[in-house]
């Protein structure tokens, strides 16, 4: 005999319904939580981008110290903003937070190019003409001496380039180069005068990464001639030395600053960093400096021993960024930038003194110099360019410059995203 058991059956059905309902409630609960989280993160991302725009539009000093503000005077729109000087560029730190959720973005800031001042070549007028020989190409606007540009016969080679000599508009240059930004130079001088304690930890490890959220890590080698090798250094790190600092090809440096009296970069090095020396920067052959890098001579005081400030770029080296020389007080021996054979520079060269472009060098960007120099075995030619290419059109249209250089516009843009969560 089979029992009717209507109650039992109903209880089982009710149980099944209860299970379905509870799973529905749980899934709806998690969905809601996730949606709220996504909504909050969308809002945070939006606030973060607003913060980035505020930093980009701000003046240099406005956010030198971290400032927390409410964007629209609402509940969930707090951001914290800070802008640091980082070599020739700036670094922006933006944090957006709602309750316990925080998003941050750290990025480097650079200036857009002022097309009205931009030139492929700016050669100071020293009352003498400028001569081209061999397969030389100059593409883009050029500021040249009043005496003009002419073809020349050097090393048994006639000029073989474009008939126009300069493929672009020609302007007359001044007797002096457009000056570097004084405020930025002062900021760079402060780095050189840093008196910080030595950080021995650097020699004991194979990798150092310092976030820009933390205070800058200064490593001062003082008067010890040090070689940086078998180490990876990245981020908010400044290396200081009162004497020679050698960077081996086994070292990987990214985003860091290096200040020393003399910097030697061994051949085969690959990285992106900003190098500033008081006396010389010597980059050996086959090195690769990724954008945005910088190599500069900064001489705020006359050297104790009279010596020529010099930047040497080795043969077959690729350098993307800015190369410049600066001497506060003019000396009889002008600073020299020497670019080796088959070297390529993507960016800007600003030489307050002499620029030596050897055979088959290529500058994709801009050259500002007081004088060109070309040496062969027997003769030294001034204001001659032989087998060289200066092409401003070959530079990426996304290239950004530093406010240090005279062709920069006031409006700032994000150069590189450094850190984010």
């Amino acid at each position: 005999m089979v029992k009717a058991s209507a109650l039992y059956i109903v209880i089982i059905i009710a149980l099944v319904i209860a299970v379905i309902c509870s799973s529905l409630i749980i899934s709806a609960y998690f969905y809601r939580i996730q949606y709220q989280k996504k909504f909050r993160y969308d809002q945070l991302e939006n606030n973060l981008n607003s913060g980035v725009n505020i930093i980009l539009a701000s003046s240099d000093t406005a956010y030198a110290k971290e400032r927390t503000l409410s964007l629209f005077n609402g509940d969930a729109d707090s951001v914290s903003l800070q802008r640091l000087t980082w070599g020739i560029y700036d670094v922006g730190i933006v944090k957006a937070f709602i309750q316990k959720d925080t998003l941050f973005k750290i990025f480097s800031i650079a200036n857009a190019i002022d097309s009205s001042k931009w030139a492929a070549l700016y050669l100071v007028d020293e009352d003498r003409p400028f001569s081209l020989s061999g397969k030389t190409t100059i593409r883009g606007d050029a500021y040249i001496p009043k005496a003009g540009v002419q073809q020349a016969y050097v090393d048994n080679k006639a000029y073989q380039g474009d008939k126009r000599l300069i493929i672009g508009t020609k302007h007359i240059s001044d007797k002096k180069l457009p000056v570097l930004n004084d405020q930025r130079l002062k900021q760079l001088e402060q780095y050189q005068d840093q008196n910080v304690t030595n950080d021995h930890a650097l020699t004991k490890t194979d990798s150092v990464t310092s976030s820009f959220l933390k205070p800058t890590r200064f490593v001062n080698f003082k008067k010890e001639a040090e070689t940086i090798k078998n180490i990876k250094i990245k981020g908010n790190v400044v290396l200081l030395s009162d004497t020679t600092l050698t960077i081996d090809s086994t070292a990987v440096l990214n985003d860091i600053l290096v200040f020393a009296r003399t910097i030697i970069v061994k051949s085969g090095f690959h990285g992106s960093c900003q190098l500033f020396a008081a006396d010389s920067v010597s980059i050996q052959r086959n090195c690769r400096f990724d954008y945005p890098s910088c190599a500069g001579i900064l001489r705020f005081k006359p050297p104790p021993v009279k010596s020529q400030a010099k930047i040497t770029i080795g043969n077959h080296t690729d350098f993307s960024g800015v190369i410049f020389t600066y001497e506060k007080m003019e000396t009889p021996v002008k600073p020299l930038i020497s670019v080796g054979q088959y070297a390529t520079i993507n960016g800007q060269v600003y030489s307050q003194g002499i620029l030596e472009l050897k055979d088959s060098t290529k500058v994709c960007g801009s050259v500002f110099t007081s004088r060109f120099l070309y040496k062969n075995t027997f003769t030294l030619f001034e204001n001659y360019l032989i087998n060289t290419t200066i092409d401003s059109k070959a530079l990426s249209r996304h290239y950004l410059t530093s406010e240090l250089l005279p062709v920069s516009k006031k409006n700032k843009k994000v150069l590189q995203w450094l850190e984010a969560n």
Binding site: A4, L7, I25, R32, N46
Partner: protein
């Protein structure tokens, strides 16, 4: 075999059992329907997502436009109110406030951002 099955007798439920089970089943279904309605009502509607996306798109266009003005934009089934004002009297920054309304004039989504003025 069929005859054998028919021969088996089934005991009937009492009227009380049937009534109680009917009440239980009605209550259980009632609660289930209530939960289901609440869950579907509270979950994110496609309309809201569409409005949010539309605001993002409008903001993106505004960021690349040089002359942003306060205006009403009608897009798809939404009315978007675009409010433009300088941010803290800054000449370089603009505060853009977008609000999307549906056909019943109900606020569906909102987006506010500070942008840099295009030259």
């Amino acid at each position: 075999m069929a005859r054998g099955k028919l021969k088996r007798s089934v005991q009937a439920s009492t009227i009380l059992e049937v009534v109680v089970s009917m009440v239980i089943i009605v209550v259980a279904f009632g609660i289930a329907m209530m939960i289901y309605t609440n869950v579907t009502r509270m979950s994110l509607s496609a309309k809201k997502i569409r409005a949010q996306m539309l605001l993002q798109e409008t903001m993106l266009i505004a960021e690349h436009t040089s002359a942003n003005v306060t205006q009403t934009i009608n897009k798809d089934d939404f009315r978007i109110e675009k409010e433009v004002k300088p941010y803290h009297e800054d000449a370089v920054l603009t505060d853009i406030h977008l609000t999307a309304y549906d056909q019943n004039q109900q606020k569906v989504a909102e987006l506010r951002k500070i942008i840099i003025n295009q030259p």
